[in-house]
Subunit: 147 residues, 2 copies
């Protein structure tokens, strides 16, 4: 079996973010990986679904649990293009994700601006993977929006 890199998976998350962009959603994408295989893909759909809870990470966690038939995702890695917000970090806590990788930091709504670690103590965090690319997509989105 071919072993994919973290960059490969983050790039797949990035493709999801681009789909969000094309649909006029704030461009954030996520994938969940288990045993070197993508088991869930999702992008932000808060506008389309008229639902503030429809962030990429929440949708990806729901889809991954549905695929596995299991509530906990201890053996899984979640790749998301933007630093998760408090709601998504709370969802990741409950899912007990093995590892999370995120791209661009979110200094305003990102979970890590809080002093308390909101994630599960066993969850490993990796920051800044393909951050520039993700940042650029978000900046482009808001530039378009202002036009």
């Amino acid at each position: 079996m071919e072993i994919y890199s973290d960059e490969y998976f983050m790039n797949e998350a990035f493709k999801q973010a681009q789909l969000a962009f094309e649909e006029g959603e704030i461009p954030v994408g996520a994938v969940v990986v288990c045993n070197n295989r993508i088991i869930a893909r999702a992008y932000n759909q808060t506008e389309k679904l008229t639902d503030v809870t429809a962030h990429a990470e929440v949708l990806a966690i729901t889809a991954a649990s549905n695929y596995l038939g299991a509530k906990y995702l201890k053996e899984c890695k979640l790749y998301v293009t933007l630093e998760p917000c408090v709601m998504c970090a709370g969802a990741m806590y409950w899912a007990q994700l093995g590892e999370i990788f995120f791209g661009a930091e979110d200094p305003v709504r990102g979970f890590s601006r809080l002093e308390t670690n909101l994630l599960h103590p066993k969850t490993k965090i990796h920051r800044g993977l393909m951050a520039d690319q993700s940042n650029r997509l978000i900046l482009d989105f808001f530039k378009e929006l202002r036009k």
Copy 2:
């Protein structure tokens, strides 16, 4: 139009919690009220849906937004039998709820154990409404579970 009290609405949330209890779910229930009318009812369904994100509050917010066709719930009040967790507080932040009422405190996972206010600055918080009744239901649930 008859004006209902906060106790009335919390009792409706409590009925939702009892439904959760009967289905073997941690008994937490919620309702969303807009203009003195219940527009959404939900209870915890994490086991049934195999989804850690299926907390009563998240489901109630999604249902309320669906009903109103609006992402923001500024004019709404959410009643929930147990203090919301970090994930649910994060969802409430995004929904910009007008007011939230909760019953029993959750000293372990409740959002208010954190120093930062996770809710929207405009959201009014009311604590401890029918707390004893809600606490008792949760204690009964875990007593049953241990048998």
